[in-house]
Symmetry: C2
Subunit: 955 residues, 2 copies
């Protein structure tokens, strides 16, 4: 028996609801304000919490038609789109049946019936049981079995199923219809006494526990006693006699706790089970779940009653799971496994080794042929690859489940293109069918599937940057550089990383940190490079001497080898074999379709010519974010940078900065050349200055020596620059306000590099981005300073041509979004820095969020890590506000996003809907963004079409 | 001559404008959206920057009437309300003249004339100079002097003056009308050659520099040469002959740089000076200033031409400044100083010692009588105490300036009450006349004025918490406690303070920190206690051995004495004498009037019964914020707290927490008793747990010893809990989500204390506040947990009566404000935590803001420290949004504010207008809030009345 569902399938619906429930976007504000006023008026007079109940009762009272919907070969009354009435499960069963799959027949009691049960004072509505009996008779006719008939018994399962999946409600009672007589009949019929009594004891247990509320542990105690009695320890070792004794013992437990014997009348069993499902709708846990999740407006739960089928009735029975195409490669072959004389759990549990479906021809060619036909039918109906579960009871095939099959990124692309070729779907449908995020798998090397199966997983951290890495641990950046230079493959293992570690990170083949989240320094830098990174692996403890790390009892030193999987977060022992990616014809084809369909431009975040070139190969149409701080950490630069920081006067700072100028100019020149003809947005210096100073005494002493100043002086300056909350400190444009000479040097470097490019025939298109603006006057002041600097350089070089250098700002401070009308007056463009905007809107430090994020996700307080997927209700609302207000004072302002969210599909959809001009993301995510942008366009078009046809219908 | 203005007086206007210019509050949103759409349409087609110019030119072209407005005894054509046409200065001069003050006569050229100057291609409009000449003739008639007449010369000053004060524009040219002939006449007339030539050389210098643009240093060089020639170093030592030579030298400088001799024709001088004023309107610095400050819609600048008067024309001349009442005490006596034969600068500069005005009777009784009459007239006209400047030229009195006089808090209260008694103002006007913030001075001891005059000020930090302190430095909290217990008066001197220092802070008489802002830990805690604190005194350097501090070269150790003034931020050497405050009859009377007028309730932020009682004495109507974290730092508590933090399991944590329960219960019991019958809002634990662990190795070792665990274990836990940005970390309700047992203990303590109170006949009214909510489900989940805990305790104690404990949240995360509709569903009240809301909305850490705040205030990027005065455009907008949205789903939700802003008058006005129910502030600020709340009510009423009468006029 394998009807147990493997997923819920209704999660998406709930999420959409939640998003809707929160505050309206500014675009919708005018309309919604009116609505709110109305609802406020309404709410004013009544108590809040009773509303949901009342509306439910009204619905129950008003409609009171058909209570039970049959599904089966004889007739199918429900439809796939009747989730509100039949619940998610009931609607799906009806759908599968109506396309002709051999689904075990049954019927669904509607959610309205549940509502009626409550409005009528917790009584089963009149006529319900008559209707149920009628449907049981129909079921008997179809299955040619009889409910309660020992010679040919019909057994059924009973399950709850609301429109939205809901933990806490009654789950499942199997084998209903068994009693002391029927169990004997079943034993005879199957010629398998143990099977029959095992089924019976399960029924008594589930029925007592789930339906009648007897504590499960009382049954456990009884089982333990039986096991002791027969001298066995495993359930499976209990012999047939023991199972019989167990049934008696269970019946005694039932009698003892309920005061009545276990009901022998199957219809009585069914009635109580139905009522139990209805009751479970309002148990505290379910009520609380709805309350906390603000699930309102539901009628109640439906009840599904379905005939049982068994794959363990002998050697002519069996069970299996399969995909209609190869889910790893996408190749169009039937792909799966089956087991003879077994239940579905056995396939999943891996106790016995199943056989590949191809071998079914030898066992039952007819069934195999039938399955191939079903594969075709299913793909035609669902227009996609399916993942199916089936059971063969005494030679007869039953389909228990079908759903869209999960697949690798490569398979998704291949299947999509093949289905277009097979004319099953359109190009648009193909584009929509590939989860954009899965493209990453196609671009990076990965571990060999079979090799990984045998690998020893030490711990699992956060999959911070996809890709794989095999190497030996290095514990400092310096060590990583040195050993990498000697040809070693090292993995940099750190508690967390900082800009000082960048060289070491670059030299390493992979990065592993024990703290920090998906958007920690390590994660962001690694993703930028497409380098494998596992972050926040809390089980990793680095020894205080920096010579090794331990993980769950194992210690790894410099000579040991570990393997990282950046797509799963797994840290594995030893060297796991890898495979290199090859970009398929289908990938290129799909990207071509995507580019034709998308409106959003896709830029990249890149700080070096190498990154820029790579991103360009991946299809980037410009740079949306060039961070300038990483540029100051190499060799002589950091020395000049530190001189600047130690300087006490503006003059001394300017002098130190003049040493940085040629470097900075070279940096920009290289990037402009790589991006010839495409826009390059350069963000002026952003991090607080203390990030450029060493923090441990040893490095400080070294710095003091090399700069010829006292250690005390260095320490004093480090202490002076120390900040309690650097994220909220002296950084971004605040630096330029207090140290205008830094801005001047950077702008000069940009302008001089641009002029040099023009002389060399390279088309440089810089855009200057002033970070962290929160007050309009910051931007007004710094824009003026920038323009003055541009003019100065032009005059110096006798440059008379026009220089078009847009000057804009990042919107990353909530106040900037709220006062975007003032700020837009001084900005040629806004680029949404959604990383910092998320930090400030939530009050979450992305470096510290791991302390509570896991609890938040487990308890479903947050649906997703907001640093991975843009929070539309809060952060998104600010983005929309900024867009709306910015346009009031500057209608043609250019708008883009340069946060990490630019490479997240859901966030790209949001950016499309919010009418941004471009998204910008790390180079390896550019293809993802291209595909997601196309999906956004198509979705929007579809939604518009649907609206139009709805409007037409109304007319 | 003393016509130089001491203040600008137009700053307030500008500020209101700025506030208006930013984004609209939600309440105004609907209306403004329509407006914005219109303006957006308009802006779309045209370039943005030209708008201001165009509208100015239109205004100039349209109106073209009267260009010059005379003020004097003969006639006064302008009025005080014509600031747009005559500029701020011109309108004031007209106002003073028209109430009969003997103001030196003159005339004002309108701002429209300036606009016309520009529209006509930078030419003086036709007819202007004729009009000017006509007014000069009038001036001659009134002064009985003649422009350019050597025997009785009329000399004038020329000054710019726009509607809004604007740095960068031409300031002042004095003594205009002098030439080679007139100077001789002036010498003869005054019988003071040196005076005459000194005046002449000043004219040539100012004229050359300001009007004609000759670099000032050329004149300086010439002066240096003269001084060398006469062998003197000081300007004042140059003899008469030297002054004559200097005039010649200056004329040569002028000739050399301009190519023409210094103009001898006074009318020519005047014409060029007027044009220079007009030109100065559009010099880059002024244009930039307007651009950055978004000052638009002004016509241009006015020009004020005023006859000169001199107090240094002999022993029958003089000058003085006075207040119409005593500005220190408020007593109704004429109060001031004068100097015979001197200019106004001499009084201000303090070169000569002026005499009290009373003594004037001996010198010129007539003038003194005249001044007394003017005092009466002024107070009747302005209905307030005035600060005046006057000059006596050869026995004739001239009023140069009058403005509302600055006064101490005590004087303000006394004067307000007296003016009511004198029937000059109403009670409402009295309430409005006292700056609410100044009340602090009445409640705290202060330094004796005369003693302070002689004190040596070592440095000036931030006036973080008012009051005064005299004592010797202690450098650790422990030392402070120990020495205070020995009867010593100590001042705790720290780089910054943390909750660990609370005991030491409490023992100290004052607190001095070298870093941290107005809302740093030290400042907030000190204000809560009404204890003197000077924060962020950056000149203070604490020696690394912790034995002394140095400040600007002086070193202070444990045996030295220093004095702190918390109202000014001054740190002084030695022991400065103090005076204790006495609450005056007038203070109580004014507070009585205020309580009758206000709508806002005033609560207090208090964590102990002592604080609560004191606040109640000051008029607090409940507690708006009880922080629970300070309670865990004393004695045994911190041990149990640390046990809890070190615990690895929920069970171990619960065990440690059970030790804290009795303490916590006692805390609440005491506070409930102190606040019997009044509401007490208790905030559940807020700070990150690492704040409770020691951070230096020594204390960690001690903790390890006392708790019987290894030092490594302590270090490991400290490292594990370390956060990059604690402000954005694992704190607030995030703690309760991951450690629900902490919430359970605290709620239990509240409920048990409440029940104990009821048994003891004390009416406890707790309100439970869940901090740092950003996601509705946080509150939903924790509310449920709170309710469950309340039910559990009730059951345990067989308590059957209803317990009314409102459960609400702080709105302090931007996302909470933005999604307040969702959150309000689960909240009985919102309390705006505007400290954190300001931190997050701006992205400013209040502990780190000092690195850039001074630059921001100097450059006027920020008008005020947003942690002191609520930022209405950004933070206020979020507050208004939260109120509006919260009410859509929960119309009768209770609303208050508990940030530090609750004690800031401007912020209290905002809270009143935003329709909050209460503000809550530290005990010593309660009277301030009471007065400010009354002022807010009155202002709102006045605004409504004004609107109604405006509407009536329209009809």
């Amino acid at each position: 028996m394998a009807t147990k569902s493997r997923t819920s399938g209704t999660k998406t619906t709930k999420k959409r609801r939640n998003t809707r429930a929160t505050s309206p976007a500014p675009a919708r504000r005018a309309a919604s304000t009116a609505k709110k006023k109305a609802s406020r008026k309404k709410a004013a007079g009544s108590k809040r919490k009773t509303t949901a109940k009342k509306s439910a009762s009204k619905a129950g009272a008003k409609r009171s038609g058909k209570m039970v919907y049959y599904f089966g070969a004889l007739k199918t009354e429900g439809r796939g789109d009747m989730k509100g009435l039949l619940g998610g499960k009931g609607a799906n069963l009806a759908d599968m049946t109506s396309i002709g799959l051999p689904v075990p027949a049954g019927f669904t009691i509607t959610t309205e019936t549940c509502a009626a049960y409550y409005t009528q004072g917790r009584r089963l509505p009149k006529g319900l049981m008559e209707s149920v009996e009628k449907n049981v008779r129909l079921l008997e006719r179809e299955t040619k079995k009889k409910f309660g008939d020992a010679s040919n018994p019909l057994l059924v399962s009973v399950r709850s199923g609301a429109k939205v999946s809901m933990p806490g409600m009654m789950d499942t009672v199997l084998n209903l219809g068994l009693n002391d007589k029927v169990v004997e009949g079943l034993a005879a019929l199957t010629d398998n006494e143990r099977f029959a009594y095992d089924a019976y004891r399960r029924l008594i247990n589930m029925y007592g526990d789930v339906v009648m509320g007897v504590d499960h542990e009382h049954f456990e105690e009884a089982f333990d006693q039986i096991k002791r009695q027969y001298g066995v320890t495993l359930d499976t070792d209990v012999p047939t006699e023991g199972m019989k004794d167990l049934c008696d013992a269970y019946k005694n437990v039932y009698l003892h706790h309920i005061g009545k014997p276990f009901p022998q009348n199957p219809m009585q069993q069914l009635k109580l089970a139905i009522e139990a499902v209805f009751k479970s709708w309002n148990i505290p846990r379910a009520v609380r779940y709805r309350q906390i999740n603000e699930i309102t407006g539901l009628n109640g739960t439906a009840v599904n009653v379905q005939s049982m089928v068994y794959g363990n009735m002998g050697d002519d029975s069996g069970t299996g799971v399969a995909f209609t195409r190869n889910p790893s490669t996408g190749v169009n072959t039937f792909y799966g496994e089956f087991l003879v004389n077994a239940q579905g759990e056995d396939v999943v549990a891996g106790i016995r080794t199943p056989r590949p479906v191809d071998e079914m021809t030898k066992w039952n060619a007819k069934v195999f042929k039938q399955l191939l036909a079903i594969k075709k039918k299913l793909e035609k109906h669902y227009r996609d690859m399916q993942d199916i579960e089936f059971t063969i009871e005494r030679g007869e095939l039953f389909m228990l489940q079908t759903r869209t099959g999960k697949r690798t990124g490569a398979a998704a692309v291949k299947i999509a293109c093949d289905l277009v070729k097979e004319k099953l779907i359109t190009q648009d449908q193909a584009l929509l069918s590939v989860p954009a995020g899965d493209l990453t798998q196609l671009l990076l090397p990965s571990f060999d599937d079979s090799a990984k199966k045998h690998a020893k997983v030490l711990t699992t951290g956060l999959p911070a940057s996809p890709g794989v890495a095999v190497g030996s641990p290095a514990f400092t950046a310096g060590e990583a550089v040195e050993r990498a230079n000697n040809g070693e493959r090292v993995i940099l293992v750190r508690k967390e990383t900082s800009p000082e570690d960048v060289d070491g990170m670059h030299s390493a083949v992979g990065i592993l940190t024990s703290t920090g989240g998906m958007t920690s320094h390590a994660a962001v830098v690694a993703r930028g490079w497409g380098k494998c990174c596992v972050a926040g692996a809390g089980d990793i403890h680095i020894a205080s001497n920096g010579e090794s790390f331990t993980v769950n009892g194992h210690t790894y030193g410099r000579t040991d080898i570990i393997s990282l999987d950046g797509s799963t977060g797994q840290v594995m022992d030893g060297s796991v074999e890898t495979t290199e990616p090859e970009l398929s014809v289908e990938f290129r084809r799909l990207m071509g379709w995507a580019d034709k369909r998308r409106r959003l431009s896709v830029r990249t975040n890149a700080d070096t010519p190498v990154d820029a070139s790579r991103a360009r190969e991946f299809g980037a149409q410009g740079i949306g974010l060039t961070r300038t701080e990483h540029m100051f950490f190499e060799g002589d630069r950091i020395v000049a940078m530190r001189e600047m920081i130690l300087a006490d006067t503006a003059q001394a700072r300017t002098q130190a900065l003049s040493k940085l100028l040629p470097f900075q100019k070279d940096d920009f020149y290289g990037i402009f050349v790589a991006m010839d003809g495409l826009p390059v947005t350069i963000r002026l210096l952003d991090p607080p200055l203390h990030e450029f100073l060493p923090h441990d005494e040893e490095s400080q002493a070294e710095m003091a020596r090399s700069m010829g100043v006292g250690l005390e002086e260095i320490k004093r300056r480090v202490a002076m620059l120390h900040e309690a909350n650097p994220m909220l400190g002296h950084r971004g444009c605040r630096l330029a306000v207090t140290y205008p000479e830094i801005l001047r040097m950077q702008v000069r470097a940009i302008v001089e590099a641009m002029m040099d490019c023009q002389e060399a025939g390279v088309k440089a298109k810089p855009e200057i981005m002033i970070p962290l603006v929160g007050v309009a006057k910051e931007l007004a002041t710094l824009r003026l300073l920038t323009e003055e600097t541009i003019d100065t350089v032009k005059k110096e070089r006798d440059y008379t041509k026009k220089l078009n250098i847009p000057i804009g700002t990042m919107i990353e401070i909530p106040r900037a979004a709220l006062t975007a009308d003032s700020i837009a007056k001084h900005a040629d463009f806004f680029s949404f820095g959604t990383n910092d905007l998320t930090q400030l809107t939530f009050g979450y430090s992305r470096d510290d969020i791991n302390a509570f994020l896991p609890d938040y996700l487990t308890q479903e307080i947050l649906e997703k890590d907001p640093f991975q997927t843009l929070d539309q209700s809060g952060v998104g609302q600010l983005v929309e506000t900024a867009i709306e207000r910015g346009r009031t004072t500057h209608p043609d302002i250019k708008l883009g996003i340069c946060g990490e969210h630019g490479g997240d599909p859901a966030s790209v959809y949001f950016c499309h809907d919010a009418d941004l001009e471009y998204v910008s993301c790390s180079p390896f995510r550019v293809p993802i963004a291209r595909l997601a942008a196309a999906q956004a366009s198509i979705r929007q078009e579809q939604a518009k079409k649907a609206l139009r046809s709805k409007a037409k219908k109304k007319r």
